[in-house]
């Protein structure tokens, strides 16, 4: 057996500034905050996904639902932050990427004589939303795109916070997913569209609403701290990005909170949130 000492994993810390949100009955962070705090009822309604104002007409026409979802959430997160989009490093996280586009290509490949559309092909890359963001922002800053199945939100958050702490720069983090088409939808049920974005700031920088400490665990957390709200019960299984809800609820409650996510293969992520 290993003779190595069992060391408690180090925590990574950052501040949370602006937020963006788009999901069923959650038409933006600002309007949804009372619902997330439990002060107003949640009423399921399909989200209206706006055409991204940041894109030129040619890109607007090519931007699919997932791209529009991601850009809507990111736009809200930085709207009142004092940052302009081209200043920010970005981390985009999505379980399925543009699964509708990937599905359309798979359909074409399975059809005798079916041709793959060149536009669909370049939109099929997992970093498509990041690419459209970069074009719209006119940004030359680094951007990374992650895909981690059910763990896409917690691991995306961890890596975005890691970048903030490692390089001392703010990072715009966005997690998003949208429903797949048949037949892939049966393999990877995603019932609703959902996107969340957070401006993460180096610890101690002004503009944070809360500070966040994250720790990856080599085992499943003992318990997820809060009882599951009705909102979580309705949405967490319906979209991987909706695993942001415990954090969003804690931010809306403006109270210190300990949170935990059970990750695949017997791992975990725990978080400590402290309002500023």
């Amino acid at each position: 057996m290993s003779g190595a000492p069992e060391i408690v994993p180090a925590a990574v810390r950052c501040g949370i500034g602006g937020l963006g949100l788009l999901g069923p009955g959650l038409p933006g962070w600002a309007t949804s905050e009372p619902v997330l705090a439990g002060a107003a009822p949640w009423q399921e309604a399909p989200p209206t996904v706006p055409t991204p104002a940041m894109l030129a007409p040619a890109e607007r026409r090519r931007a699919s639902l997932v791209v529009r979802l991601a850009l809507a959430a990111t736009a809200e997160a930085i709207a009142e932050s004092g940052f302009t989009p081209e200043m920010l490093d970005t981390v985009f996280a999505s379980s399925n990427g543009d699964g509708a586009v990937v599905g359309a290509i798979l359909d074409a490949l399975a059809t005798p004589g079916g041709d793959v559309s060149p536009t669909l092909f370049h939109n099929s890359v997992h970093n498509a939303a990041a690419g459209y963001w970069g074009i719209g922002a006119g940004s030359m800053r680094p951007s990374v795109s992650l895909g981690c199945h059910d763990d896409t939100f917690p691991l995306g958050l961890l890596q975005a916070a890691t970048e903030v702490a490692a390089w001392g720069r703010p990072v715009l983090f966005c997690a998003y997913d949208a429903p797949l088409n048949a037949p892939l939808d049966a393999c990877r049920p995603t019932a609703v569209p959902f996107a969340v974005a957070m401006l993460l700031l180096p610890e101690g920088e002004p503009g944070a609403r809360a500070t966040l400490a994250l720790r990856h665990l080599p085992e499943e957390p003992v318990a997820e701290a809060c009882p599951r709200s009705g909102l979580r019960a309705a949405l967490e299984a319906a979209n991987p990005a909706a695993r942001a809800l415990p954090l969003l609820e804690a931010l809306a409650a403006r109270q210190p909170a300990r949170l935990a996510w059970t990750l695949l293969d017997g791992m975990g992520l725990e978080a400590e949130l402290a309002p500023c």
Binding site: P9, H122, Y132, G134, V144, T162, A166, A186, D265
Partner: protein, 381 residues
Amino acid sequence: MGTGLAATRAALEERHSGLAPSAPEDDLPGTWVGRVAGLEDVSLPAALERFTCRNNRLAELALRSDGFAEAVLAVREHHGAARIGVVLGTSTAGIAETEAAYRRRAPGETALPADFDFAGTHDLFSLARYVRARLGLRGPAMTLSTACTSGARSFLEGAALLRTGQCDAVVVGGVDTICRMTLQGFNALALLAQGPTRPCAADRGGISIGEAGSFALLQRAEDAPVASLRLLGAGASSDGHHMSSPHPEGLGAVAAMRAALDAAGLAPEAIDYVNLHGTGTRANDAMEDRAVSHLFGAAAPCSSTKGWSGHTLGASGALEAAIAVICVEAGLVPGCLGVETPDPEFRADVVTANRHAPVRSVLSNSFGFGGSNCSLIIGRA
């Protein structure tokens, strides 16, 4: 082009390409591909059988090469499984398995066969989960996918995990395997070469698609005193220009190379060899020449090794990091394969025959769809 560093080094020295005419079932007459032979015979451990797909078979083959898995286990003994992370890049993971599942359906049937394991094969995370489980690690694992910079970018994200003290070692790299989606997709974009790819040639005609798996174990320099090679710097940028065409002046490429030089604390004169992204397309190679000559003039010898491997997409940055290691250890600047004279429009020092000279540091470029750019600098401590 070979299994393991020694075979890859021999292929580079002997100028022996791994490319061959595509198979009839690829439906791409005249194109060449770089397939890894014998992958079908590589089996995964029984407990991890659900991850079986071409991509994870290639990951397994790479883990078995050069004593890599054993080296990770030795570091695991020292630091503990929870202190070792896994950050890997791929563009298509096991999607060839999904393509096969679509084809296996009976006529008129829409649903995919019940034995198709989406999370174990198709899903991007399949790669990092398989490698973490295979190596018995318990640190953070994630798959990143930034098109053709994925493999290079894993080094930068792995370095961030080390820098924040969350990990003492990180398995980084990339694995991408040939599938119809990429073959037909690049064909639809009219980017595939007839015959083997000839990067930097005046009459270059596009890409040959290849496949590769390549890993590195990153540690803090002070934890690896016997390692003679270092990731000296890494830098990334975006073009913010177009989804599938590079910025014509290579502004994003210049920004990534400059960020890597800054991170390494090196002046351009310290780079002895530039391993180009060099895909063999008209646009990429012309853009990259502008970007490289902007920073290095004609002072740094440069070449693309995709004439050996083909464009291995999300693995290319990781494969070319291993090639950079070989170039430093062998004192080798490999000249572009199959190119007699470089494009006369190019201003950089494009090398077309192998040169032997001391190589202390190599800058390796990767660029991808979505305007993603990443440069690594690998060299002697």
